[in-house]
Symmetry: C2
């Protein structure tokens, strides 16, 4: 195995371990373990672009699961499917702007929380300010977080444009 890749003295096993740990982390975040495994694996595998079949072989999961989870990761903005000239299969790779996708996902969650607090306030419309106070504080927090994270996202994008013009 691995006859056509130069892995130096890297143990295939420890690379797999890295993927596996991302699986566990994803699970703690309420996402499928397999999605995490793919995400981790695509950061250390060789070659960097992998076909569905290669993922099946490397990670020991079913075709169906790879299909489902690559689609999930795509929809989260973390993966992209790229065409390789002369190849019939789809090749999956980490999106260059994947981290913006991660931040955007988090932003969505914050925005949902803010919207929900807002909706709660409308239910308490006729209540006293004291009664509203808890909800107002919550709304203010999520509004703060939403604004700040949007700025953070811009920061990151700026950073990428300056510094990492390598790729």
């Amino acid at each position: 195995m691995n006859s056509n890749t130069n892995n130096g003295n890297l143990r295939h096993e420890s690379l797999l371990g890295y993927a596996e740990e991302w699986g566990l982390l994803f699970e703690r975040w309420g996402l499928p373990r397999t999605a995490g495994r793919i995400w981790g694996w695509l950061h250390v595998c060789e070659p960097p672009l992998q076909t569905a079949g290669q993922l099946v072989d490397a990670l020991g999961v079913s075709k169906g699961s790879v299909s489902t989870n690559t689609r999930l990761l795509e929809s989260l903005g973390l993966l992209e499917r790229v065409g390789v000239p002369g190849a019939r299969q789809s090749h999956y790779g980490v999106r260059p702007d994947a981290f913006e996708g991660i931040m955007r996902q988090r932003l969505v969650g914050v925005a949902q929380a803010r919207a929900l607090a807002e909706r709660g306030l409308s239910v308490l419309e006729s209540a006293s300010p004291e009664r509203k106070q808890r909800l107002t504080a919550k709304r203010d927090f999520y509004a703060f977080l939403e604004r700040e994270m949007e700025e953070l996202l811009r920061h990151w994008q700026g950073r990428r444009e300056e510094g990492t013009l390598v790729d």
Copy 2:
């Protein structure tokens, strides 16, 4: 019911609905639905401090579940158990600094991701820079996020000290 609380024209049902929606949001975040229900409810209930028994009655969940999930929310830094003079039971309420707890939780997740990327890099120690590139980018992102969120947390704390000296 509700003979001793003045709820004005607020429908008990719509307040419960608010709690229920937080339950669903929590679930999407990989947390128990009941924990979300409690968290939502404690922002709109009257009185603001509730006993375990009141939570059982209001939310229609078991004593055991309330016990488990209040402990969870406590450990996340969102709830506090306060003693009420003359009352035998524990009373639960939203911590005044709950939102700092939320941010701290998120920070922990980011730190874990950064640590994991770091560990991956040590596995690739002897590899070429090109091979390391994907992991380095990931590590850099999480390191960035970690630093920025720490600052964000400080911002929020400062904001609280200035503005919200009401409570």
